[in-house]
């Protein structure tokens, strides 16, 4: 019913739009689900409508008005694992995190490896999701790494990329064929880069901490060798290749090198990989268990450097909900992954902006034009005529993350109880306010 929503005038905010380079206090008028205009003094020309109450006003004074944030890496668990998350609950969590578009990974049950599963997700999202949900299709059938899935039909049904996230394609020949096909279909190939033989049995980053804690290690090399392989295959095939949740110093250096040579390579990083390190593991709290694992200080620093220098294209959450019972086990038996939609912006502001490492413009870019261009999606801009997906946030509101109140169906976040200064204030999708901080 978004068409029936009243026009909305967002006033007093600092509008930052990386697509146009705009950064100034202005008003934003939203009508019929689209951005109608941006400027100063819009109120005067709308006086009549405003007087008659035909336009809603949202006061954004002191806040930043940005294009709707995009998270190109989430797990929504539907179909098949709805006790951990649904498209509806995941989308609510996204809205509360300031995201207006999320791209969901295909490791559902069944795996999104066919047009019928893709269509189900697209249809279901239309019915229940408060934000835009764009599915990512599996590279191989069942994500088993052997036979290519129905990538062409999935594209027609709405996928925006392909990935066997979490179960990386180990066979380089299969990956090569996937990249060739992806190039022809104009799709980005996203890889969760992990050599499963090197990482087998590991529960945390391999290093001094894993040795001290007696937990089996996942070496940085298990990520690096796959990044290297995929960069070579990307060069061989000419495919657009995107490194998911890049977490190591060497992988960052390799992506920087590939970019300097002009390859179509992009990468994303997660807030947890730049905000915390493997030192957190000493409590054996499984909320610190994810893949790639929390790395050591020099890796986290390299991730931040990559953000500052421009090598990193996007911040993505890898939001991976798990039901409480699955995380209430011995550390080595707990599944990998943490939720992240609701804390991503707060952590990014904290670590990157308050510290003075990046500008606000760069921050917004990492959540908007950056991820949009990775997948060649047409969102992430406030250009007149674009869908009215808008994120309003600030750098000053103090809030504490109460994980028990999360919109996600799962509670597996290591950031429960963390204090933040700055974060999302309101999320607008298609001209409708879908979430607002209380």
């Amino acid at each position: 019913m978004r068409d029936a929503v009243k026009p909305l005038l967002i006033t007093g905010g600092r509008v930052i739009d990386p697509a146009s380079g705009a950064d100034a206090v202005a008003e934003v008028l939203v009508r019929d689900g689209r951005i109608e205009s941006i400027g100063t003094g819009l109120g005067a020309s709308l006086a009549e409508e405003l007087n008659e109450g035909k336009i809603d006003i949202l006061d954004a004074s002191g806040a930043i008005v940005a294009p709707g944030f995009i998270d190109i890496h989430v797990h929504l668990r539907e179909p098949g694992i709805e006790h951990a998350e649904t498209i509806e609950s995941g989308a609510r969590a996204a809205a509360a995190g300031g995201f207006t578009t999320i791209c969901c990974m295909p490791n559902t049950v069944p795996v999104n490896d066919s047009a019928s599963v893709t269509s189900y997700i697209v249809q279901r999202a239309r019915e229940v999701a408060k934000v835009n949900v764009r599915p990512i299709g599996a590279i191989t059938k069942g994500s088993l790494g052997e036979e290519l899935s129905a990538i062409g039909s999935m594209k027609e049904a709405g996928i925006v990329a392909i990935s066997d996230d979490g179960r990386p394609v180990m066979n380089a020949r299969v990956m090569r064929r996937a990249m060739e096909l992806a190039r022809a279909l104009d799709l980005t190939v996203i890889d969760h880069c992990e050599d499963l033989n090197l990482s087998a049995g590991g529960d945390m980053h391999e290093g001094a901490e894993s040795v001290r804690l007696g937990l089996r290690g996942i070496p940085a090399a298990s990520e690096d060798v796959m990044v290297a392989r995929d960069l070579l295959l990307s060069e061989l095939t000419g495919a657009r290749f995107h490194v998911a949740h890049l977490s190591t110093q060497r992988s960052m250096a390799m992506v920087a090198f590939a970019k300097s040579r002009g390859l179509s390579v992009t990468c994303e990083v997660t807030p947890h990989h730049f905000a915390i390190t493997d030192r957190e593991l000493e409590t054996y709290d499984s909320n610190y268990k994810m893949k790639p694992p929390l790395r050591c200080r020099h890796d986290a620093d390299a991730v931040i450097e990559g953000i500052v220098s421009g090598v990193v294209d996007a911040i993505a959450t890898d939001h991976a909900p798990h039901a409480g019972s699955e995380k209430m086990q011995e550390f080595e038996r707990c599944p990998f992954g943490i939720t992240g939609l609701e804390t991503a912006l707060g952590l990014s502001i904290d670590v990157l902006v308050h510290s003075g490492r990046i500008t606000l413009m760069r921050l917004v870019e990492l959540f908007t034009t950056g991820p949009a261009s990775v997948l060649k999606m047409d969102c992430g801009t406030l250009a007149p005529g674009a869908p009215a997906d808008i994120t309003i946030f600030d750098l000053t509101t103090e809030w504490t993350y109460d994980v028990q109140q999360s919109f996600s169906k799962s509670r597996n976040s290591p950031f429960g109880g963390r204090r933040f200064r700055g974060g999302p204030l309101a999320t607008i999708v298609g001209g409708e306010i879908v979430w607002k901080r209380e």
Binding site: V211, R212, G214, L215, T283, Y284, D285, M328, E330, F331
Partner: protein
């Protein structure tokens, strides 16, 4: 007495213990050692207390000595082995724990194959937890009884030279011993084949060196601790079958490289002919049986400290 970590939370690891605490446990353990031809002292310090021994992993020496220690202090004990209990029927750790807590024990002694399992417990329960060995992390009471054994042989822990040889990567005994010995500025050499000796071990505590060469490791050693190769924990063999004993098996002729009064220790169970030869195990230099004997005395000292 100040409220120490050991008193509040039981005993999860050696790493968080200070030198004073270690010394006071070792001193108290001496008091509990049996006199010639007598059995362990019988006290009623812990009368009315109930201790649950929860063993998720097979153990003979450790389980039995914790049981004897508790009984000699007058506590009631219940021992639960993973086999034959609801644990083997797929009950989760947290459910087992909730069930046990409903039985209102005063402390839980836990052995578990997963590193950090007692820490998991300690985060969810109020009562003290004693770690009786967690995965490849720590085995604090083993290190304490090893230290007691070294002292009993007339050696001081200060600046002592100790070689720990074998599967260091998977050894909770090695980790606990390193932390303990390091508190006394010991010179510690960890030795084993590369896949069982991750380089980061050198950062475990001050005073640790690594070596792939056993002869170099035991040169001038006061103590040689041999470890079992834990095939069940390793992904692949560290070296070709048959080569292990040749390079890392302790034989009588090696002992001449160490100090004349060197003692040889092993946390057991020993594999004769795999990590040490039979004649070493049975030699005058072997303190393996003294270690077993000290198990009860040290665990009495630990339980008393936590519960009395």
């Amino acid at each position: 007495m100040p409220l120490t970590a050991a008193r509040r939370a039981g005993l999860l690891d050696i790493e968080s213990l200070g030198r004073d605490e270690i010394e006071s446990i070792l001193e108290r353990a001496k008091f509990f050692q049996p006199l010639q031809n007598e059995s362990y002292r019988r006290l009623d310090t812990l009368r009315g207390k109930m201790i649950v021994n929860l063993f998720y992993e097979a153990s003979t020496r450790t389980r039995v000595s914790f049981e004897i220690a508790a009984k000699r202090l007058g506590a009631d004990t219940v021992s639960i082995a993973a086999q034959g209990s609801s644990v083997s029927k797929g009950e989760s750790l947290v459910d087992t724990l909730n069930t046990l807590v409903a039985m209102r024990p005063n402390a839980i002694v836990m052995r578990h194959a997963a590193s950090g399992a007692p820490h998991f417990l300690a985060r969810h329960l109020e009562i003290p937890i004693v770690n009786a060995g967690d995965g490849t992390h720590e085995h604090p009471t083993q290190a304490l009884l090893d230290a007691r054994t070294i002292l009993d042989r007339g050696k001081s822990l200060d600046g002592i030279r100790v070689a720990i040889i074998g599967d260091i990567a998977h050894s909770r005994v090695a980790r606990s011993n390193v932390h303990l010995l390091s508190r006394f500025n010991a010179d510690i050499v960890l030795c084993g084949p590369p896949s069982l000796l991750p380089p980061e071990l050198a950062q475990l505590a001050p005073g640790v060196r690594l070596s792939w060469d056993m002869e170099e490791a035991i040169r001038d050693a006061d103590v040689i601790m041999m470890l079992r190769v834990q095939l069940e924990r390793a992904h692949e063999a560290p070296m070709a079958a048959g080569e292990y004993f040749r390079f890392y098996g302790l034989r009588l002729e090696h002992l001449s490289l160490a100090k004349p009064d060197v003692i040889v220790m092993h946390p057991g169970p020993i594999n004769r002919g795999r990590e040490l030869s039979s004649d070493v195990a049975d030699s005058q230099r072997s303190a393996i049986l003294n270690q077993v004997e000290n198990g009860v005395a040290v665990r009495m000292a630990v339980l008393e400290r936590i519960l009395a």
